[in-house]
C-alpha cells in the first residue's frame, strides 16, 4: 500500500502544477483587471502589483536600487499598484448587471431546449433503425461545417424577413440549432454505451417504450446530460458574432456584446474588459461545480444479466 500512497502524492503534485500552468493566462487577465493604468501588458511574471512605497534619496526619479517609478500623485507610493477600481466601475457605472440578466435568460432557454431535444433525438438515433437515420445524422454534422462568417449575412436576411432582429427569439433559435448537433451526437454516443438489455428487462416488467426511456435510461445518462447542458450553456453564454448582428439595442445586449463594447481599435478599456471577462467566467465555474456531482452515473453492469 505504501507504493499507492507515493503514487497518489506524485499524481497530486503533477496535477497541481499542471493546473497552475493552466490558469496562468487567466491569472494574467485577472492581473490586468486590477491594474490602475488601463494597460494590457505586464513585464514580470507576478500577478498582483503592490503599491510599494519607494525610496529615492537622490531624487533622480529612480528607485535607489535602480528601477524607475512613476508617482503622479506624490503620495510616496508607486502608482502602478493593484486595485478593484475596474470592478466597481463595471458594476456601478455600466449596464453590466442588465447584460448578465439578459445572458442568463438566453442561455437558460437554450440549455433547456438543447437538453430536451438532444436527449430525445439522441435516443431515437441510438435505439431505432428508422429510415433517414443515416441521412439525419450526417445532416446534423453537415450543419457545423460552414465557416461562420459566411452564415452571418443570410442569417441577417432571414431574421429580418421574419422581423426577428433585435429579439431574443432569433438568437435562441440560432443558438439552439447550432448547439443541437453536438448535443444530439453526444447523447447518442452515451446511450450507445448503455446495454439495450436494460430497457428490455424494464419492458418485461411492464413499462412502455416511452416509460423505459424516461424512467430508466434518462437517469442513467446523467453524465451525458450534464455535458450536454454545460455545452448548450457555453454555446450561448460566450457567443459574440451572431449576437452582434441580431441585437442592436444596448438594453438587450448579452454579456459578450457588453464585454466587447469596452474594446475599440487602438483604445480599449482593458481594465474593465478584463474584469468583465473574469466575472463572466465565474458562473460557468459555478455551474460546472454544481453539476459535477451528477457527473457520476448510476450505471452498474452487474444489475443486468448479459
Amino acid at each position: 500500500m505504501k507504493g499507492a500512497q507515493v503514487e497518489k502524492i506524485v499524481l497530486f503534485l503533477f496535477l497541481s502544477i499542471f493546473s497552475i500552468a493552466t490558469i496562468y493566462p487567466v491569472l494574467n487577465i485577472i492581473s490586468v483587471s486590477m491594474r490602475t493604468d488601463n494597460a494590457f501588458h505586464t513585464r514580470s511574471l507576478s500577478i498582483i502589483q503592490y503599491e510599494e512605497p519607494f525610496t529615492d534619496t537622490n531624487n533622480n526619479n529612480l528607485f535607489d536600487d535602480g528601477e524607475s517609478f512613476i508617482d503622479k500623485n506624490k503620495n510616496g507610493k508607486w502608482d502602478s499598484g493593484s486595485s478593484l477600481k475596474s470592478y466597481f466601475e463595471l458594476f456601478l457605472e455600466t449596464d453590466f448587471l442588465l447584460w448578465v440578466k439578459n445572458s442568463i435568460i438566453v442561455s437558460f432557454i437554450v440549455t433547456i431546449t438543447g437538453v430536451v431535444f438532444a436527449s430525445t433525438a439522441g435516443y431515437a438515433l441510438s435505439r431505432y433503425k428508422f429510415k433517414g437515420r443515416e441521412f439525419g445524422m450526417t445532416a446534423l454534422l453537415t450543419t457545423q461545417m460552414f465557416p461562420a462568417t459566411m452564415l452571418l449575412l443570410p442569417f441577417f436576411i432571414l431574421l429580418s424577413y421574419f422581423g426577428l432582429i433585435n429579439s431574443y427569439i432569433g438568437l435562441v433559435v440560432i443558438y439552439s440549432s447550432t448547439a443541437l448537433p453536438f448535443c444530439i451526437w453526444q447523447m447518442k454516443g452515451y446511450y450507445d454505451t448503455i446495454p439495450p438489455s436494460i430497457e428490455e428487462s424494464a419492458r418485461l416488467d411492464g413499462c412502455t417504450r416511452f416509460q423505459a426511456f424516461y424512467k430508466i435510461i434518462l437517469p442513467l445518462s446523467s453524465p451525458a446530460l450534464v455535458i450536454t447542458s454545460l455545452f448548450s450553456f457555453m454555446a450561448s453564454w460566450s457567443e459574440y458574432v451572431v449576437a452582434a448582428i441580431i441585437l442592436q439595442d444596448p438594453k438587450m445586449y448579452t454579456l459578450p456584446l457588453g464585454l466587447k463594447s469596452f474594446q475599440a481599435s487602438l483604445s480599449t478599456q482593458w481594465g474593465m474588459y478584463a474584469a468583465a471577462a473574469v466575472v463572466v467566467s465565474i458562473p460557468v465555474a459555478i455551474l460546472f461545480v454544481s453539476l459535477s456531482r451528477f457527473l457520476v452515473s448510476g450505471l452498474t453492469m452487474g444489475s443486468v444479466k448479459q
Binding site: 503533477f14 493552466t22 487577465i29 528601477e67 432557454i109 460552414f146 443570410p154 475599440a264
Partner: protein, 733 residues
C-alpha cells in the same frame, strides 16, 4: 412550467413593439471611444428632453465591425438612420450606394460652416459631414524623461540612445527611447512624406515603388537593428503599456490616446521629427469623423434625421465635445472660439496637422494598405530587401485593385448554370416525393423515433437551409464591390479562380496541420487528465474546476492574453524560457513558423478542457467490475487502459472528435487574434481566416462564397471518410 415558458417567449416577441408608435426612433451606429460615448449619450439625452417626440438609440461597434454590420443591415433593407465613423468608410459605402448623397438634403450655407476637410466628397457628391478633424499621429513624449522633443531624426536617434537603458544591468533593456506600433502601415506612412514621397499619385493610383518608400523601410529597420532605440517586437498594446509605465520615453501615437495618458504620464506632444536627410516633416494622415445618412431612409423619418444631424454637428455641440474631450472641432466658428484658442493641446495639435495629409477615401485604399503591410513586414522580418519590397508592394497593390474592381459580365455560362440549378431542384423534389410512401410506412413502425428526432432536425433545417442555398447562389455570382446592387449568376468563375491560386494549396496544408495537431493534443491531454482526476485524490473538485477554466473564459480575451504572453521581450513565455530554462528568447510573433506555433499552442490550451469533460463523462459509463476482472487476469495498467478504457470511451469520444475536427478546421478566432490578422506578412492563415482576409477585405463576396463552399466540401469529404473508417455512427452494442 409550460405556460410560464410560453409567457417568456411571448414577451420577447412583443417587447420590441411596446415602445414606439407616436415616438420617432432614430438609431445611430457609431464607433466612438469609451469616453466619447458618454458625452454623446449626454448630448442625445438633452436632445430627447427638448424634443419629446424623438427617441435616440445609440449602438457602438468597433470600426471594422461597424462597417461590416452596417453593410449587412443596409443590404437587408434596414439599418440605422445615421452612421458615424471615419471618413474612409465613405469610399465603399458610396460606391455600394448604401448611404445617400447629402447635397440636396442640406443647404450650401450649412456645408460652408465647416472646414474643407470635414465635408467629405466622393464622385462629385457630399456623403458625410464631420464633427471632428484629426485622428493624426504625432510624437508624444514623457516630460519626466525628455525635456525638449527632438526636432529632427538625428536628434531623435541621439536622445533615443541616451534613453534606451539597461537600468539594473541584467543585459536586458528596461527602458526604450522610442516605442510605437511600427509594424502597422498606418503608423509607417508619415515617414513616406518625410522622405519626400506619398502613398498615392495625383490620379489616386498606388505609388509604392519609390525611392522614398525604400528609404523609409530602411530607416525604420535601422532604428531597430542599428540604433536599437525601438524594441524588436512591439505592437500597439505593448507600446502603449510601456509608455504608460514609464518604460518608454517617447511614443508615436494619435490624438485619441491623450485621454488615456492624462493623469498617468506627464506628456507633451510634437510633430514627428523632421527627417534630417531631406529636411522634410513626416506627414501624418489627417481624417475627419462624421455622420452619413442611410440610403433606405425616406419621408418624415428623413426630416427628423436631418434635424438631428444638424444639431449633432452644430458649433455648440462641437464645443461641448472639445471642453470634455479636447477634440478638434470642424466648425469654423468653433475653431475661432476662445475655448479652442486657449486649449494648449489643440494649439500644438493644429500645428501638427499643418504638415499632415488628408486620409484618402477611395475604396482601393484597402488593397494598398494590404500590399504595403505584407512587404513592409517582410522587410522588418529580414526576408526581403527594401528594394524588392517596394517593387513588390506596388505590383501587388495594382493586382489587388484590379481584382477588387473586377466586374464580370454574366454570359452564356450563367444561363446554363441557372438551367442546371432549376433542373437539380426539380430532380430533388421528385426524389423526395418518391420517398414519401416509404417514410409513411416506416413511421408507423418507428413512431417514437420520428417524434423524437423530427423536431430537432426541423429546427436545424429551418436555420441552415436558407444560408446554404444563399451561399451556393452567391458563389456562382459576380457579387462584389462594383456590383453591389445588380449582381447576377456568372457560373463557376470563382471556383476555377480558387483552384488556380497556389496560395490556396499552401493554406490548405497549413489548415490540415493546424487541425491535426490541435485534435491530437486536445484528445490526448483531455483523456489523460480525465483518467488522472477520475481517481480519488485530495482537492479533486478544485483541480477539476481549475482545469476547465480555459473553456469558461471568453475565447477572444484569452487569445489576446496569450498574444501578450508571446511577446519577445516582455511576454511571460519568453521570460520563463530565459529565466528558468536558460533558453534563448523566441521571436514568437514576427517569424512565420513561430507565429503559427504560437497559435496552435493557444488553441491547445483553449480546447483540452472540453475533451477532458467529455472523457470524464465517458469514464462514468465504464463498469468498475471490468477492471477488477482484468486485474484478476493479471493485466497491467496500460493493458487495462488499452483494452477497456479506450474502446469503451470510443462511442462517447468519437462524436466529440468529429465535431472538434470541424470546429477546429473553421476556428477563425484564435488564428486571427493571436496573429493579429495573419501577421507576419499574411503567412499565418488557415482557410477560414484566409477567406476573411483575402475576400471580405476586398469586398469580393462571390469569391468568398465560392471559397467557403470549397472549405465545406473538403470538410465534408474528410469527415465522411473518417466516419466510415471509425464507424463513429455505430454503437458498441
Amino acid at each position: 412550467m409550460y405556460t410560464y415558458l410560453k409567457k417568456i417567449v411571448l414577451l420577447f416577441i412583443v417587447s420590441p413593439f411596446l415602445l414606439a408608435d407616436s415616438i420617432t426612433t432614430i438609431n445611430i451606429w457609431h464607433q466612438m471611444l469609451y469616453e466619447n460615448r458618454k458625452v454623446l449619450r449626454d448630448v442625445c439625452d438633452k436632445y430627447e428632453k427638448n424634443n419629446p417626440e424623438i427617441n435616440i438609440n445609440l449602438t457602438y461597434r468597433e470600426t471594422e465591425e461597424l462597417r461590416s454590420s452596417y453593410q449587412a443591415a443596409a443590404m437587408g433593407g434596414s439599418g440605422p438612420e445615421l452612421i458615424y465613423g471615419p471618413s474612409d468608410q465613405v469610399g465603399p459605402f458610396s460606391v455600394m450606394g448604401i448611404i445617400q448623397p447629402l447635397d440636396k438634403l442640406f443647404s450650401k450655407k450649412y456645408f460652408n460652416q465647416f472646414v474643407e476637410n470635414a465635408v467629405v466628397r466622393s464622385m462629385g457628391k457630399v456623403w458625410m459631414v464631420g464633427d471632428v478633424v484629426g485622428n493624426h499621429l504625432m510624437l508624444i513624449y514623457n516630460k519626466d524623461l525628455v525635456r525638449y522633443p527632438p526636432k529632427n531624426t538625428n536628434e531623435l536617434i541621439r536622445i533615443g540612445k541616451e534613453l534606451t537603458l539597461d537600468i539594473n544591468g541584467n543585459g536586458k533593456i528596461d527602458q526604450y527611447g522610442l516605442v510605437w506600433n511600427f509594424t502597422e502601415p498606418f503608423f509607417y506612412v508619415p515617414w513616406l512624406g518625410g522622405f519626400g514621397e506619398w502613398l498615392l499619385t495625383e490620379n489616386e493610383t498606388p505609388n509604392l515603388n519609390t525611392k522614398g518608400n525604400k528609404k523609409g523601410f530602411r530607416f525604420i529597420k535601422s532604428l531597430r537593428d542599428e540604433h536599437k532605440i525601438i524594441p524588436k517586437e512591439c505592437d500597439y498594446e505593448i507600446a502603449n503599456a510601456m509608455f504608460k509605465t514609464g518604460r518608454a520615453a517617447m511614443i508615436i501615437n494619435g490624438d485619441w490616446s491623450w485621454g488615456d495618458y492624462q493623469g498617468v504620464v506627464d506628456f507633451g506632444i510634437a510633430r514627428i521629427p523632421k527627417v534630417s536627410e531631406t529636411g522634410l516633416w513626416p506627414s501624418p494622415l489627417v481624417s475627419t469623423k462624421g455622420y452619413s445618412i442611410n440610403a433606405n431612409i425616406k419621408g418624415s423619418q428623413l426630416d427628423q434625421t436631418i434635424k438631428l444631424m444638424k444639431h449633432l454637428t452644430s458649433e455648440e455641440i462641437q464645443l461641448y465635445f472639445t471642453t470634455k474631450l479636447n477634440s478638434q472641432p470642424s466648425s469654423k466658428d468653433a475653431l475661432n472660439s476662445s475655448i479652442v484658442k486657449n486649449n494648449k493641446l489643440l494649439k500644438e495639435s493644429s500645428h501638427i496637422i499643418e504638415v499632415g495629409r488628408p486620409m484618402p477615401i477611395i475604396p482601393e485604399m484597402r488593397a494598398i494598405w494590404d500590399a504595403l503591410r505584407d512587404q513592409y513586414q517582410a522587410v522588418l522580418g529580414g526576408t526581403v530587401s527594401a528594394q524588392d519590397a517596394a517593387k513588390k508592394a506596388q505590383e501587388n497593390a495594382l493586382k489587388q485593385i484590379k481584382v477588387m474592381n473586377e466586374k464580370i459580365e454574366p454570359g452564356i455560362q450563367g444561363n446554363i448554370i441557372k438551367i442546371i440549378i432549376f433542373a437539380l431542384i426539380f430532380g430533388l423534389i421528385f426524389i423526395i416525393g418518391k420517398q414519401v410512401p416509404d417514410f409513411i410506412s416506416d413511421y408507423k413502425k418507428n413512431k417514437i423515433a420520428y417524434i423524437f428526432f423530427a423536431p430537432a432536425l426541423l429546427a436545424i433545417a429551418a436555420v441552415i437551409i436558407f444560408p446554404f442555398v444563399y451561399n451556393i447562389v452567391i458563389s456562382l455570382s459576380n457579387y462584389s464591390l462594383r456590383t453591389f446592387n445588380d449582381w447576377d449568376i456568372i457560373g463557376l468563375y470563382h471556383y476555377i479562380k480558387v483552384f488556380g491560386d497556389s496560395n490556396f494549396y499552401l493554406v490548405l496544408i497549413k489548415t490540415f496541420i493546424w487541425t491535426a495537431l490541435n485534435i491530437i493534443f486536445h484528445v490526448s491531454i483531455g483523456i489523460f487528465l480525465a483518467v488522472l482526476i477520475n481517481q480519488t485524490l485530495p482537492a479533486k473538485p478544485i483541480i477539476r474546476t481549475l482545469l476547465i477554466i480555459p473553456w469558461a473564459i471568453p475565447q477572444y480575451i484569452a487569445a489576446l492574453s496569450w498574444r501578450g504572453m508571446f511577446n519577445q521581450e516582455y511576454g511571460a513565455i519568453n521570460i520563463a524560457l530565459v529565466k528558468y530554462f536558460n533558453l534563448p528568447a523566441v521571436e514568437w510573433l514576427s517569424q512565420p513558423f513561430e507565429a503559427f506555433t504560437a497559435c496552435i499552442l493557444t488553441n491547445i490550451w483553449l480546447g483540452f478542457p472540453f475533451m477532458m469533460v467529455i472523457a470524464l463523462g465517458g469514464l462514468q459509463s465504464i463498469p468498475q467490475d471490468l477492471y477488477e476482472a482484468a486485474r484478476v487476469d493479471g493485466a497491467n495498467r496500460w493493458q487495462q487502459f488499452k483494452s477497456i478504457t479506450l474502446p469503451l470511451l470510443k462511442p462517447v469520444m468519437l462524436p466529440a472528435i468529429v465535431l472538434g475536427t470541424v470546429w477546429t478546421f473553421n476556428n477563425i478566432n484564435v488564428m486571427w487574434l493571436v496573429s493579429n490578422g495573419g501577421e507576419p506578412s499574411n503567412q499565418t492563415h488557415i482557410l477560414v481566416s484566409f477567406v476573411y482576409k483575402a475576400a471580405f477585405n476586398l469586398y469580393r463576396y462571390g469569391y468568398a462564397a465560392a471559397l467557403s463552399m470549397i472549405i465545406f466540401l473538403i470538410l465534408f469529404g474528410l469527415v465522411s471518410y473518417f466516419i466510415k473508417r471509425t464507424r463513429a455512427t455505430e454503437g458498441v452494442y
